[in-house]
């Protein structure tokens, strides 16, 4: 089994030199720690390319935040723009990949990560635009929920963020691709067998 940092490290392997990438909140944020020598430019969808790390204490700037509303810093390469242009580059396919968390993914690549009816009503933010627009959608999440049920389903039960949008899923148990007819195992996490992975997955594995 992989822990959070191992999942993030595995997700970082998905990124190619020169890519412009959007990272979601949670484990996806950790991916930035594992890109190594690759030249990756991070986008923050409120209106920034070239997102730097958190500031040192005392150097926080209220005019400089990321999409999670956290204080951040700029880099030599940083460019700022308004939110219409920011989502123009997302919708226009200029962002090579988005790595984001999910509540549910199904075997057709449908993704649910924004709403639990009657419980959680916060809004989708930029998630629907990202999954509809970027080149590659990579989901990083735990394989099962806190009750031990599979989060990789035959069909999502929660309201969708996007239909048929997910390309690859990285969980604590392994890596799976969305392909014609279901999910395909790409890799098993350390100490996890293919049988373990199948047993923990509701979705069809081909």
């Amino acid at each position: 089994m992989w822990d959070r940092n191992q999942m993030a490290a595995r997700a970082a392997e998905e990124l190619e030199d020169g890519w412009y990438v959007n990272l979601g909140i949670g484990i996806p944020t950790l991916v930035a720690n594992y890109v190594g020598d690759k030249d990756i430019t991070l986008q923050s969808e409120n209106g920034m390319l070239g997102m730097g790390p958190f500031p040192f204490e005392g150097e926080e700037d209220p005019d400089l935040i990321n999409a999670g509303k956290q204080t951040i810093t700029e880099m030599d390469r940083t460019a700022y723009f308004d939110s219409a242009q920011s989502f123009g580059m997302i919708r226009g396919g200029k962002i090579a990949a988005a790595i984001l968390g999910a509540m549910e993914v199904d075997e057709k690549g449908d993704l649910a990560n924004w709403m639990i009816p009657g419980k959680l009503v916060k809004g989708m933010g930029g998630a629907m635009d990202l999954v509809a627009g970027v080149g590659r959608v990579i989901v990083v999440m735990d394989h099962t929920n806190k009750h031990g049920d599979s989060k990789l389903l035959k069909e999502c039960t929660l309201p969708l963020t996007g239909k048929g949008v997910v390309d690859r899923i990285i969980t604590n148990l392994g890596v799976l691709d969305v392909v014609e007819g279901g999910l395909k195992i790409v890799e098993c996490a350390d100490g996890v067998s293919e049988d373990d992975l199948r047993a923990a997955t509701e979705a069809t594995i081909i």
Binding site: N46, D82, K122, K163
Partner: protein
């Protein structure tokens, strides 16, 4: 025509009426028109519809207008930071229209550009697409058809935005990620009122560095801004 006004109340004089539609700039608490929102609270204008990415927090930003029940409807992409908002929404006192963030930004931009509708892939196959016109375009690989939905441009009665600097003719510069929704919001208002940290003499801004030309700006005020930080995150010095 003189665009500079002495304060927020004076700049909004004659522009406010109950039931009006206001587009507001800002993302979270970053780059929000805090002085103009405060003046709208003081004016007591009611039944407002706001197009704004977020709804502020309980005691700052649009949140202060929720406390006084001045807001009838929000058009937003994310409202998770506001307990009073949740309470009013779940009890049916407040209408809420969720827009994907990029759709909201483009609705403002296109409204300001005289474009009443546009097609987008965002939200196809989700509840956002319910009841909207669907149309296929040959934008896929090798001309494969892909489905889009139509979204409407926003035409607001009033835009309220925050910029960093303005010259006396209303040419604007923004600072870092405080730009966010401010230019598209400014563009989609019949009238646009801007609050800035500094009004500088016309001619002192580099014409090549203007982020939004003064043609979109009708009234300007200068004032002190609290600029509250929503989530202070720092790293340790090595």
């Amino acid at each position: 025509m003189k665009k500079i006004y002495p304060n927020a109340a004076a700049a909004l004089d004659g522009l406010l009426h109950d039931g009006m539609f206001i587009a507001a700039g800002g993302f979270g608490l970053c780059g929000i028109p805090e002085l103009l929102l405060s003046a709208i609270k003081d004016a007591g204008t009611k039944d407002l519809t706001f197009a704004s990415n977020n709804a502020g927090v309980d005691d700052f930003g649009i949140g202060i207008l929720l406390q006084t029940r001045q807001v009838k409807k929000m058009i937003s992409s994310y409202v998770g930071e506001n307990a009073e908002f949740m309470r009013q929404y779940l009890s049916g006192e407040l209408e809420l229209e969720f827009n994907p963030q990029g759709t909201l930004a483009e609705r403002m931009r296109s409204g300001g550009c005289g474009i009443p509708g546009f097609y987008t892939k965002t939200g196809v196959g989700t509840v956002i697409a319910d009841g909207k016109e669907h149309k296929d375009f040959p934008t896929g690989a090798d001309g494969a058809m892909e489905t889009y939905i139509m979204e409407n441009g926003i035409f607001a009665d009033l835009a309220i935005v925050k910029a960093w600097k303005a010259d006396e003719t209303g040419n604007l510069m923004f600072r870092k990620t405080a730009r966010n929704f401010n230019p598209p919001a400014a563009m989609c208002g019949k009238t646009c009122v801007v609050e800035v940290e500094e009004i500088v003499p016309t001619g002192s801004l580099d014409p090549d560095s203007i982020h939004l030309p003064g043609i979109y700006v009708h009234r300007i005020i200068q004032g002190d801004h609290e600029k509250r930080i929503e989530q202070r995150t720092v790293r340790e010095k090595a």
